[in-house]
């Protein structure tokens, strides 16, 4: 047993040295995950913060002015143009200068004073339908509250008291960053593990390794452990950015999070090593990995919810470890659940590891050249 551990330790040491002695690797393992976590933290947002709008006010009354004041008061809407005629609308929308145009008809004030329904036209640039949809909702909410104030100081008889669990201000960033803890490290662990054996094969060192008394299992463990460590370190970098830069409070326990992430990283290393064992050279390993990473990330629920996918794709995501890892990371981080609650995430990860790791070890020796 002691000898076994000693051998594993020496394999791990060799692997770490081989990875970190290459200056390009040192940069590639740290810098991208750091940059990406910042970039994504800021860029990956569906929250509306800035809606440029143009105003076409044909009524020129106090009501429309008041309504616009409500709109400006939100801080989200910024007027970029005052239009004179209907014909100007196309210009500002087409050029993308304004996301929306708000148009008050000539009879707006009259209709409102007469107790009628006074229509406001809202024209949206829906080239990005997501942004347009959100903007419409925003404008709708402003108009609702304007209607309420019309009815005097007593306030509305009914108020909605919204409370959001786990993400009080409903910021996209709060969802994305826990997801990134898993996804950013996966990209690199897959690449590293897929290339590790392929690189050794190309350099001829794998033969030298196989003639030594190491068993395939030992070689496999020796490769997996350092990469898992690197993967977890990268997760830690993202976690630190989330906690200390973006100040997203963590509800769950670190132990639970790392237990889940550990299992997930092992599963991805297993996948990477299996790719590695079937690739003839580094180029193939790299392309296969890339080919795999794309669907894994896209179908993980990171950018768009799994529930919005058609049924067959939802079924397909059952073999995607990232899907479970993102769910797990979000739940532990935001909801603060314990290991028992996320057991449905852990079991698939366990199954994936249990298949890929032995497969990789077997392929090391038995791959037909």
């Amino acid at each position: 047993m002691l000898n076994f551990l000693r051998r594993i330790a020496s394999l791990c040491r060799k692997e770490l040295l081989a990875i970190f002695k290459d200056p390009a690797n040192r940069v590639i393992l740290v810098v991208p995950s750091l940059i990406e976590s910042f970039l994504f933290g800021y860029a990956a947002t569906y929250d509306l913060t800035n809606v440029p709008y143009a105003l076409l006010d044909q009524s020129r009354g106090s009501a429309s002015t008041e309504l616009i004041a409500h709109l400006d008061g939100t801080g989200v809407f910024h007027r970029v143009a005052m239009l004179q005629t209907q014909g100007d609308i196309a210009r500002v929308i087409d050029s993308g200068d304004a996301l929306i145009v708000i148009q008050f008809g000539p009879r707006f004030e009259q209709q409102l004073n007469a107790g009628e329904f006074a229509p406001v036209q809202l024209i949206l640039d829906a080239r990005n339908s997501n942004t347009a949809g959100s903007a419409a909702i925003y404008v709708g909410a402003v108009i609702d509250s304007f209607n309420a104030t019309l009815r005097g100081g007593t306030g509305p008889p009914l108020t909605v008291e919204p409370r959001a669990w786990y993400n009080p201000n409903l910021e996209t960033r709060w969802n994305i960053l826990p997801g990134l803890i898993a996804s950013l490290s996966m990209i690199q662990t897959l690449m590293l593990s897929a290339l590790s054996v392929a690189r050794e094969r190309e350099n001829g060192t794998f033969d030298q390794l196989l003639v030594t008394p190491f068993s395939p299992t030992e070689v496999m463990i020796g490769k997996a452990v350092p990469i898992v460590m690197i993967g977890l370190t990268q997760s830690t970098i993202v976690l630190a950015v989330a906690l200390f830069w973006f100040n997203i409070p963590m509800a769950g326990s670190l132990v639970t999070l790392y237990a889940g992430l550990g299992l997930f990283t092992i599963a991805s290393v297993g996948m990477g090593l299996s790719i590695s064992a079937v690739s003839a050279n580094m180029q193939q390993a790299m392309l296969y990995t890339f080919m795999l990473i794309m669907p894994l990330v896209l179908l993980s629920g990171l950018a768009t919810p799994v529930r919005n996918m058609p049924q067959f794709l939802q079924t397909a995501t059952l073999i995607n470890p990232l899907r479970f890892a993102i769910d797990l990371a979000q739940r532990v981080y935001l909801e603060g659940v314990g290991l028992l609650t996320v057991v449905h995430d852990l079991i698939p990860l366990l199954i994936i590891s249990a298949i890929t790791l032995p497969l990789a070890a077997w392929l090391f020796r038995n791959r037909l050249l």
């Binding site: 051998r7 020496s10 060799k14 033969d207 030298q208 196989l210 030594t212 008394p213 020796r365």
Partner: protein, 604 residues
Amino acid sequence: MSGPAVALIANRVHKRFLVKETGKSTQAVADVSLEVQMGSLTALVGPDGAGKTTLLRMIAGLMTADEGRLDVLGIDVAADPQAVQDRISYMPQRFGLYEDLSVQENLDLYADLHGVPQAMRRNRYARLLKMTDLARFTARPAGKLSGGMKQKLGLACTLVRSPELLLLDEPTVGVDPLSRRELWEIVQQMIDDEQLTVLVTTAYLDEAEHCARVFVLQEGKLLAEGTPEEIRQHARNLCFIVTPPQGQPLRILQARLLDDADCIIDAVPYGGSVRFIRRAEVDPQRLDSLLGGIPATAVEARVEDGFMVLLRERHDVAPMDTAISKAAGGTKNGGNGEDNAKREPDEVVIEVRDLVRKFGDFIAVDHLSFSVRQGEIFGLLGPNGAGKTTTFRMLCGLLPATSGFLQVAGFNLLRARAVARRRIGYMSQKFALYGDLSVMENLEFFGSAYGLYGKRLRERIDTVMQQFDLEGREKSPSGQLPGGFKQRLAMAVGLLHEPEILFLDEPTSGTDPLKRREFWRRITALSEVGTTIIITTHFMEEAEYCDRIVIQDAGRLLALGTPQEVRMQAGGEGARLNMEEAFIRIIEQERRKNSESPAGEANP
């Protein structure tokens, strides 16, 4: 000739490289001046790292000299490299064939690039394909050719038109004797037919014999130049052969001679005898006692002899390190072969019966049988693609056999547990240690792989560091060591755990004669203490070091026995063949027997 009579003039050329790790620069080419005449074959020879390739690259306009001037075909290369590149052809050491293109497509590409008119191509192709014997394979992807065929195709690609100057960088490295001879025949024929001007670098000095002029480079400097005859002059009257008594392996006498550097410049086994160069000023009495009274016959000097004399005398290279002799002492717990009573000297340690390996329909190894006894040096020989490497990999347990029986040290290594693999050492053809790791880290890692640790590991590392002359290099990244160091480190790693059997796959491919001598001195020392050695090589003279050899072609065993027996098989009693001649003869006999279209260009 309307062009200049001189193809190349180098005037005090210098080139330095910056070594990234240390920040220091090394002088790759220092103050070299030379001239190459039109229509001649000129050789650049010298040990590894002498600057041959750098010089060639500068001539080809791929590098720029730091100082000095290079005029190629009357053009200053530094000023207008493209003008030179339009007119010359260059075959780099590793000719970059496009491996997924077929033979024909590779040829077409280069013909197009050199603007060879369509009308000329038919004849040219027919001729090139005939000379290279590739006509049957025009549709085959270049990647699927054997090493020798690849080199020939590379050469053919550079000869799609008649260049005004042809640069060949070690065209025969890693190529078997048969293909090597064919390559030279092609070059020779082109020179005869087209008055081609050729500048070739080589580590095989017998190749320099054909050249009109030879330049000897050493550490970037021009050491000597002249006709082959002038180079030979340096060793005139110093070369002898001596035949040891029947039954005594040549290497014993050879080692004894080599170890006495004061008397002997060089000694190699040669056609059943030992060929040696004595120092000019040697005391005849001392030499006589060294030879043990066996009479020595004077022989003609070769270019290689002149080269050895030049290198040893002019540069005073320490001949064989005393550490090498210690290599023997250090291994096997300080004992030597005879003390190792546990093991019978005749015990069979490797047994192979009816071994077969197929790749799809292709039979790479075809019912091979042989056995190796303890303490033997056993050579696996054969042309490129003969199945040597496949056999070798099966023996090491890196490749499963399709059928047959295979035992190494009592086990099939593919399936065997760790214990069995602890008994073998392995050194692959190309450097296969972790290049980014330092010397010490590699030794530590592989030591621990074999279950060495703590004090025992330290001791062993210290021993091999000393044995293989690696001291002072502990912290250097292994991948950046000079070639010779790399090879010694690989050996050190293979021997760290004192294996009973050592596998060596073309360990001397592409190394210069000096390093090969040194290497073999180490091998013979190891064998003296009872280590069994399995080795593959393309240098046929090296087969003479072996106790027994096997010659394979197309997967089948063609000859098995002592070098003497194999020579007999090839040429009968009377013929005094050297190993290379014997080898070529055996292969050609066999191929003629088996095929209606003989592959080799058999000389009548």
